[in-house]
């Protein structure tokens, strides 16, 4: 069942003295219940505007459709009561004069929760989001990752079936990023929340999202299941590994050039006689890496370092442009 089904969404903003600027053009989007959709695009692509339209906070100039079965144009008030939105920065809506628990206690009645039920819900959320030991701390005394989790906890108070996360890992350190991503996955898998996530980190979308929609200059240029999109774009990710192995007589080992599943190229070079460096171009590192590790063991080598370069959004858009040019050339 489609939880979001909108078509031809267009939006323009009025600029003071400079006419109007088009932010979204004829966007069609259909998202199934239980999905995590990654909405990707560079800054100014229209991601936040699309999210505001889908939450009922902003009215589109053209197009229509339904969100959670409610009409986007006529029932946007009802949509607003059934969705949650986490803004891009952790500071949004957090009161520094209230403790972590008090912040949630403030928002609970605003979201229509009260009494024992609200207290239980707050305790549950603090526990689930790893904030129980920070319940009585001031927000300025906790980390950025914890503040982001607090913002997330506030949005989860209402337990809505549809959650919008606008760049949720923006400005977080690696630990914060890890914990927020884990929580997003848990929410989707254990609590069946459909999640729309905007990001410009391709790696994040690849890790979390079941499907990806790409926005560029207000136009939805692609919307496909993540694996399918990555495959169709033939985007390879280089995996660099350094190995250690010597023969008993101390001479360097000559390794055969192997082949791995989903790998398009394998190169072996030598930094020194006993430390060969291998570069593997992989279309799907989740398939390639286990085979690669098994091969390393088979060869009796020690793995010294391994690094997988992330695919960037620029790579994706470049590949998409190339793909389109090829299609156009073939047509011509």
């Amino acid at each position: 069942m489609a939880i979001i089904d909108v078509h031809d969404i267009g939006k323009q903003y009025r600029l003071s003295g400079h006419g109007r600027v088009s932010v979204l053009q004829q966007v069609n989007l259909r998202v199934s219940e239980g999905a995590i959709l990654g909405l990707l695009g560079p800054n100014g692509a229209g991601k936040t505007t699309l999210i505001k339209i889908l939450t009922g906070l902003l009215r589109p100039d053209s197009g229509g459709g339904t969100v959670l079965g409610y009409d986007l144009l006529r029932q946007h008030g009802r949509i607003r009561g059934l969705v949650s939105l986490v803004a891009p920065t952790a500071e949004v809506g957090i009161d520094n004069n209230l403790t972590v628990r008090q912040n949630l206690a403030f928002w609970a009645p605003i979201f229509g929760l009260h009494g024992r039920f609200a207290r239980r819900r707050i305790d549950g959320l603090l526990e689930r989001l790893g904030l129980a030991d920070k319940a009585d701390a001031w927000p300025m005394h906790i980390s950025a990752g914890q503040r982001q989790r607090l913002a997330l906890a506030r949005s989860l108070l209402a337990e809505t079936p549809l959650l919008f996360l606008d760049e949720p890992t923006n400005k977080l350190d690696s630990e914060g990023v890890r914990s927020v991503r884990q929580m997003i996955a848990d929410l989707n898998q254990q609590h069946a929340v459909t999640i729309i996530l905007t990001t410009h980190v391709m790696e994040e979308a690849e890790e979390l999202c079941s499907e990806i929609a790409l926005l560029r200059e207000g136009v939805l240029v692609a919307h496909q299941p993540t694996a399918e999109l990555m495959r169709s774009l033939h985007l390879t990710r280089p995996i660099m590994i350094t190995l250690q192995r010597q023969n008993r007589d101390g001479s360097a080992v000559v390794l055969p050039t192997p082949s791995f599943p989903a790998a398009t190229a394998v190169q072996i070079s030598a930094a020194s006689a006993s430390s060969p460096i291998m570069k593997v171009e992989s279309l799907d590192i989740r398939t390639t890496i286990p085979a690669l590790l098994a091969w390393v063991r088979e060869q009796g080598c020690t793995l010294t370092t391994m690094r997988a370069e992330p695919v960037t959004l620029t790579d994706v858009f470049q590949a998409l442009t190339e793909q389109r040019l090829q299609v156009k050339e073939r047509r011509d």
């Binding site: 505001k52 607003r80 949650s84 803004a87 009645p109 229509g112 929760l113 009260h114 209402a158 337990e159």
Partner: protein, 288 residues
Amino acid sequence: MSASEQQRGGLRGFLRACRVAAWLEYRNLRYYPSNLILAGIQELTAVGVWYFVGRFLNAGVSQAVQQYGANYLAYVVIGVLLNQVCLAALNGPFTTISDAFWDKRLETYRLSVHGIWANLIGRLSWQVLFSTCLQILALLLMLLLGGVSIRVSINWPLVLCAFLLLVLSNAGLGVAGASLFFLLEVKSGQDPITWAYRYLVMLASGLYVPLTVLPGWLRGLSSILPQTYGFAVVRTLLLTGAPWNAPAIWGNLLPLAAATLLTLGAGYAMLSTALHRAERGGGIGVVV
């Protein structure tokens, strides 16, 4: 039971949301006790200045306020005390909307069950309550200092009724002013409605001088100000001890009630329109 099933709409849920918004305002003030003290001093000073002006002028001009007990000091002090509470009601809504917008929480309020209106009313209630307490304190202080005399037998329910109507009419104007945050894109400073109203009140409502000394054209203007009627009723009740059925009471109380209904209705309609318009233009939240 899930949270969505437990979510309370309705009046009780709304009042709870208002209470928590008022509580946040109180917490913020309590968090910085110096602000509490400074706010108190500021309010007392505003009234204190007029207490001394009133004392200075009392002997010479009291005859001009014959209908209010012929005591100019009491006349001006009661007016200023009432007006301080009115200012809290007048300025509160714009500040609330502006703060929520710039703190980037207006969208979250809009997405919640009770949202913007609960926040507006809750915060306003606290501001009015806090200001009222300070004005009562100031009045007690001035009664102790002497010179200000009020009647012993006073119809307190009617005083309360007039006071509430006066505050509500100003709150309605304040909400109408807050709507200009979106309608005229006044994103900081002051909105033209409350700004203009504040100065009109100072000039033409009988706040500092009786209406009889105003020129005819200005007196015409005074008839559209809720403060004109509110000040007249409360002063008549407190300073002359007029009975409930006195013509001076109902002649002012009824127009005040009508003005209150009008300003509240206009305020609600204007802010609702402003929020809908902001939803079209993209102005309800700061793009971050």
